[in-house]
């Protein structure tokens, strides 16, 4: 099932339809009429004109950087648009599905790892990030494919691409009394779907600049 232009409301409704035993939005009692235990899990069957990615294709996306025999096995997939509109929707999803609770505002990392740099141990391609969200990962990433529509996950991928777009000055990273030299303008002062657009001098634990 696919949504044309998912909004928070439709996403939330979709989320409920796809909820099984998980207690979601506990303030609402489980309701047999709206919380259908027979509802099917999300599938990747797609409508005409939208991206067409089958589970078989996604299975072929390697997570490892090692490919025996030096075969380039990475499939060429027709991904949904990963653009600013998708990133904007992704930012809203990031808050409403509590991604922010683990990965924190602007993806600085907390219970979950930072998304604000270029480091993705399960792969940094859009397909890799999609699968990390969809399947979950063993060290604490929940398997969100059980409850989120795929479009919502692709929107998250678009937002994460923005979050991770940190300026790069060298291949590795140096930490010293003078490095890093910059920090993001914190989210309580400037919020947006492209946080690396706004940076300031590194504060070293002191009050951020206004």
């Amino acid at each position: 099932m696919r949504f044309g232009k998912p909004t928070i409301v439709t996403l939330a409704a979709g989320l409920l339809m796809l909820t099984f035993s998980a207690q979601i939005f506990a303030e609402d009692k489980p309701n047999a009429e709206t919380n259908n235990p027979e509802a099917p899990p999300p599938t990747s069957s797609s409508d005409a004109g939208m991206s067409t990615i089958s589970p078989e294709q996604l299975l072929k996306v390697p997570v490892s950087g090692l490919t025996p025999g030096a075969v380039d096995a990475r499939p060429k997939l027709n991904l949904p648009p990963i653009d600013e509109k998708a990133a904007q929707r992704g930012m809203e999803n990031f808050a409403s599905f509590n991604c922010v609770g683990c990965h924190m505002g602007n993806g600085g990392g907390g219970m979950g790892p930072a998304l604000s740099n270029h480091a993705f141990i399960y792969g940094s391609s859009p397909e890799n990030i999609f699968l990390s969200i969809y399947q979950g990962r063993p060290n604490g990433m929940p398997a969100w494919g059980t409850v989120l529509p795929e479009d919502a996950i692709w929107d998250l991928v678009a937002y994460i691409k923005n979050l991770s777009n940190a300026p790069v000055s060298q291949w590795g990273s140096t930490v010293s009394s003078t490095s890093p030299a910059i920090e993001q303008v914190p989210v309580e002062i400037k919020a947006g779907a492209n946080p690396w657009q706004y940076t300031q001098k590194f504060s070293k634990g002191q009050k951020p600049q206004e």
Partner: protein, 653 residues
Amino acid sequence: MGVTQRLAGLASGILIAAPLAFASPVRAQDQSQKPVPEANTPPTAPNNTAPSTPPTNAASPKTQNDTEKQSTDISSLIKDDNQWPMAAKNYANTRFSHLNQINKDNVGQLRMAWSFSLGTPRGQEAAPLAVNGTLYVVGPYAGVHPNQVFALDIATGDLKWSYAPKPDPAAQGVACCDVVTRGLAYDKGKIFLNTLDDFSVAIDANTGKELWHTKLGDINKGETITMAPVVVKGKVLVGCSGGEMGVRGWLAAVDEETGKIVWRAYSTGPDAEVLIGKDYHGPYDWLNGKDLGVKTWPPDKWKIGGGTVWGWISYDPDLNLIYYGTSNPGTWNHEQRPGDNLFSSTIFARNPDTGMAKWAYQPDPHDLWDYDEINEAIVADLTIDNQVRKVLIHPGRDGFMYVIDRATGKVISADAYDYVNSIKSVDLNTGRPVLDEALTPSLGKTVRNVCPASPGAKDWQPSAWSPETKLLYVPHQHLCMNFKTSNVGYIEGTPYVGADVDMFAGPGGYRGEFMAWDPVQRKKVWSIKEKYPVWSGALVTAGDVAFYGTMDRWFKAVDAKSGKELWKFRTGSGIIGQPVTFSGSDGTQYVAIISGVGGWSGAIAVAELDARVRNGALGFTGAMQDLPAVTVGGATLNVFALPKNQQKAASAE
């Protein structure tokens, strides 16, 4: 209202929050903290050098008699200063030892006796336990064998056995503030371990063999266990963490022989489940009434209301009461939970046999800022206004030092011990804080410069109480924050936070302090300012030495009366652990600390976080973003003693 309508309402709330409405800058309010005399920071002594004065004031420590039958009963072990049999040393939680082979005159000669690597690169908050010549240590969830337990010979450092549980790695995804453990418990030949994924395990202390294991909680509800258990009258007392996950907090009592749960007391909900009955008497009117754990919440919110139990438990055998505090309410967005939110941010007194509550006092009704009140409640008898009072001393997370009548729960005094602007004072007639209403958060607005920040003026890091100097030695932080709430929907097993936080150094630019506080005079006696939060515990001894560690890799000994620095040692990683002291079978007094930075404050140096994004780690990144420039993770048990000739000199005095 139907489910879909509610979701739509929630969604529109989130959408509306997008344009930023700035609150007007908030000035620090009139400081309620009284001016206190403070010693200047003592001059720094060179590393590992001795003071020139010869050892004096050295009495012979009680030495272990090998022919005497060794006690294995916790109630006896806590009276023997050769042992350190529970994380807080004793039921009163004093962390004071009468040992004085190491004293203020010779501590400068302290040398490393041996060390041991725990093989774990995350935060080391646990206390080593010393029982009958063996040292027991436990690592956090990290390394090849998470939550691994080691037994080591105190005199030689030899590894006797290790035990590796099999915790679910997914537990890491629901542990709010690094994947720490605060330690083990011991009684009657058994070591008690809790794993991050909610198992309680009993291990034979001699052989390392597993005796039983019991599952107490569920990571899919967001429950984890990080606290050090405490054994009282044959029951292993342990609570859950997860105040940031919409967990409904509880404390459980597990039979030490069988692993069966004897009772479980929830922090929220109906009286029958909070274990409030006819013996309960709240210290103030507002703490009396039926089912307050339900009525002080919007409908059903108590089921996801936090009040987790992850700190310290003290015990008064005479009154037969245990004392512990509960965490913040969930969410951090207070507008989603109107009411006092009982019994979150509360100190409970309970009967350990039944779990039934005797009293409950909530220092922070309707908490606005994540002020958990899980900090230690030290059992002491103080002479106040010429009367001996049986009290608890509770250095509150909210920045106030509470002295509480431990029989009734009534507050005797409450004074700010750090810069506080969120609370002006505590009304001693009602027990309620007087808030600065101008700082109250409202949805989507940034409240600036709130002090103390979410970890409070002091977090879990335990203080030490010397019955000799009658001073409390308090490691703590000095942080303020910007705070912006958002609406959050509850999804089981995921965070339930609803706030963007950004912390930074408090007034003066420093971030931590180690201080001595007089709870009768109600004032700070001396203090040492530190660059970073002092996230280690404290230890004080009859040798008039207080010990603590710093996040920038110093283990320090200071004069308990003056705060003068006497000795320091550079450790491999920053220190957030608990210093302890004990004797080996060789009659030597040892001091031990596990170094290994991490924890909520130190996560930036050990976890995959980004120092450039201040809102990470629930906002703690902002205050600690330069920590990775001074330390990285890595756990080492450091064991110190005097050279043999110095020990003899001390004993000969």
